[in-house]
Every structure is written in C-alpha cells, then in structure tokens.
Symmetry: D2
Subunit: 131 residues, 4 copies
Amino acid sequence: MKTFEYRPEVRWSDQDLLGHVNNARMLTLIEEGRIKWMHEMGTVRLTGGGLLVARQEIDYLLPVMYGPELTLTLSVARIGSSSFTVNTRGDQSGRQVFDSNVVLVHIDRETQRPAPLTDVARRFLEDYLPD
Amino acid sequence: MKTFEYRPEVRWSDQDLLGHVNNARMLTLIEEGRIKWMHEMGTVRLTGGGLLVARQEIDYLLPVMYGPELTLTLSVARIGSSSFTVNTRGDQSGRQVFDSNVVLVHIDRETQRPAPLTDVARRFLEDYLPD
Amino acid sequence: MKTFEYRPEVRWSDQDLLGHVNNARMLTLIEEGRIKWMHEMGTVRLTGGGLLVARQEIDYLLPVMYGPELTLTLSVARIGSSSFTVNTRGDQSGRQVFDSNVVLVHIDRETQRPAPLTDVARRFLEDYLPD
Amino acid sequence: MKTFEYRPEVRWSDQDLLGHVNNARMLTLIEEGRIKWMHEMGTVRLTGGGLLVARQEIDYLLPVMYGPELTLTLSVARIGSSSFTVNTRGDQSGRQVFDSNVVLVHIDRETQRPAPLTDVARRFLEDYLPD
C-alpha cells in the first residue's frame, strides 16, 4: 500500500486564541496535501472532468501546535463508481493528532453531473488502498 | 423544538479560486454561529468546564456563493453523558447548501478530562432536540 | 464631504493568539468595506476597466477586539489621473483604532495598463474628498 | 549587510477569486517571515519587553502566483530609540513582486509603554542595516 506524505508549513497565524491550530485551518492543510498529491498523480490521468468535495469528516484527537513538525499521511479509504474517499492522518510529536476522510466526486465538465472514474484513475487510486 | 438562526456576513475573500465560499471557511462560519448561540445560552450555565470540538462532519450539497443571504440553523442532534452534537444546516437562495454535525465534549478544567454535562446544561440543550 | 460607513462582523477566528484581531485580517475587513462601497457606487460607472491595489499602508493605533462594534469610515484621500487613494478609518468603543490608505489604479482591461479615470468616476470620487 | 531569507509555502487557498495570492494574505506571509527571523535572533536578546506592530506599508509591484517559488528577503530599514523598521522584499520568477516596511515598537511589559531598545538588540539589528 502506497501513501503520500506531506509536511505542511504551519503558520503562527494558523493558531487561534487558544494557542492551537484552528479546526477550520486544519481542513486547509488537509486540502493543500490533497492538491499536492493530486498534482503528483496528474489530474489529467485521473479525470477528463473535475473533482468536487462532497463530504468531509474529521476526528480531532489532540490539539495541533505551532512549532513541532506536522506530518499528513494520505491514502485512499474507498473507491466507488464515480467517487472516492481520501483518508488523511495527522501526526505530531510521535502521536496521532487527527483522522480525516474526504469524499471527492468526479464531475463531467459538460453535464456538471457525476461521471464514472476512468480506468487509469481507478488503477492509480487502487495503489493507495489499504490491503 | 427551538432552533438558533445566524446569518453570517460572507466576505469576498471567503471565496476561493473557483468563486465558491471555500470549504474550510464554511467551518469558520459554522464555528461563529456556534459561538454566538453558546453566548446566548450563557456558557456559565452550560459548564463549569470547557468545551472541546471532538469531531466535525459536513455534507456539501451545493456551492455557497458570495452575495445572496446565507442562513445557518442550529439545533441539537444528540445529547450524551459528557458530550453533545450540534447540527448546523445551511440554506441559500431557497435551497439547502450543506448539512453539518459537530461533536462537542465537556471538559473539566482541572483534570482536563471529559466530565458529565450539568443538569442545567442538559435542560438547555434538550429544547433544541428534534421531537 | 460624504463618507461610507461599514460595520464588519468580526469573527472569533479573526483573533490571533494575542486575543486581538490579527493585523493581516484587518486588511481583509478594509477590503470588504471597499468592495461594499464600490458596489454601491456601481463599478460600471467607475470604470470601463478594472481596479488594482497598488499600495496599502496602515497605522495601528490600538488593538481591535472581538465583541465591541467596529466602524470603518471610508473616504477619498487623493484623486490622480489614473489612480485614487481610499482612506479607511477604524473606530471601536469610542476611540480610533487604525488609519489606512489604499492606492487603487484604474487598469484598461485590454492593454492591462493604467488608464485615465472616467469623468463620471472622478465626479463620484470627488464627493468623498475632504474639503 | 546581512539579510534573512524565507521561502514561504504558499497555499492553494491563499489565492483569491482573481487567481492571485490575496493582498491581506501577503501580510500573513511577511509576518511569518518576521517571526522566523525573530526566532533566529532570539527574542530574549532583543527585548525584555514585547514588540508591537505600529505600521505596515506594502507596494504591490506584480501579482504573486501559487506555484513558483516565492522568496522573502528581510533587512532592517531604520533603527530608532524604541522602534525599528523591517523591510521585506518579495521576489518570484526572477522579478520583484512587492516591497514592504513594517514598524515594530519595543514595549515594556509592565508599563505597556514604548521602551528603549537594548544595546544587544541594537547591535543585532545593525547587522541587517544597508550600508
């Protein structure tokens, strides 16, 4: 099983009044990791169409801090006919800090409706599925 | 069943490159609505302790736009022994645009561990439960 | 002399670790006020072209807090041949909290170069000049 | 003359509707560079007190894009008795994209009033002054 790792540069201003990386900002870091991973796979290979975020869920296990290295590990949790789920796990200072799942839907650019994933996209994603 | 309504001021800069309110920014608006509702109920009544976000989930049904009025409607989806779930529904231009659930855990400030909701908090929250 | 007033909804998350509205976020609120003012004047009247921010300056006089009403007062500090300067003054709790000047350049959409302000735009802006 | 270089990780979400890094977000990147530089010098050496942003100015020369490496170069433009000015120059794709000056005031933590820069702080800053 392949994974994609991303170590975002957390900014001082990502912290909120409580001194933790703000919850909403965490989704921004997860989004950035996904974009970097997508870029690596080549969105062209994935789709003739576009990808839309249909659902996000995140379990916050521990506060994320400014300073210590934060590692996001991306894999694929599920592949459907026209959608797939990206899992992002966050680790900091040797402990898991969050677990997130994002459902992306493949959209046909012309009809603006969900469209089947291409075979080449499916094969790419399958490498990132847990056994 | 009571609900709490909040009409956030969406900012031009909440839009991303695609011309939609960014997904992560939506969580900021949901957070702001929750804080305003909490303020109305009086956090003192709710807790001798604090509240921590343990989990967030959101289904994006339609893109949210800058301009048309956006209405968030908050209610309580579940009350547990030391946690509860706030549902936030988003509507714009007569259509539902998202549905979100956020799990908040009541934390004892001294031990920093989950603690039972007080009776007065429980009664406050029960008014916002669907029948 | 006319002015345009805007009372932005400050968000809890606009605060930084220090409990003040973050400096960069202040520019976002100033930008939002400018957009609302521009919308009122009708950008069509102003320009056949577009407007580009060429320069921003801001003096921070007092920290801006979450909670008390914040009022932005916009006027025009200078009108040039193809640019003008918008002054935004911030007040909170009866005291001035910042003073900002933003230089906007009128750009011809075809050539992407600075172009003279139209007469109708100039007349609109002149109303907001101090005597 | 010493300078401090910082290559921020620009995020996809730093772009606004126009496809440029948003103006306000640029101040966030400049802030992050300043914090990293301050951390290197050791704030302890600089001050027994704190530092407050009193003024910011920025000239936008070219739009900043997501993708190409962005380099911020920090130096000291002026040293006063209780304040100093940090210059940040931005470069991308071989061209200068902005020029910024930020005035920081040294604050005595007890009196909350401006206080003279210490000798050690002054010496540190002098290395970053242009000849």
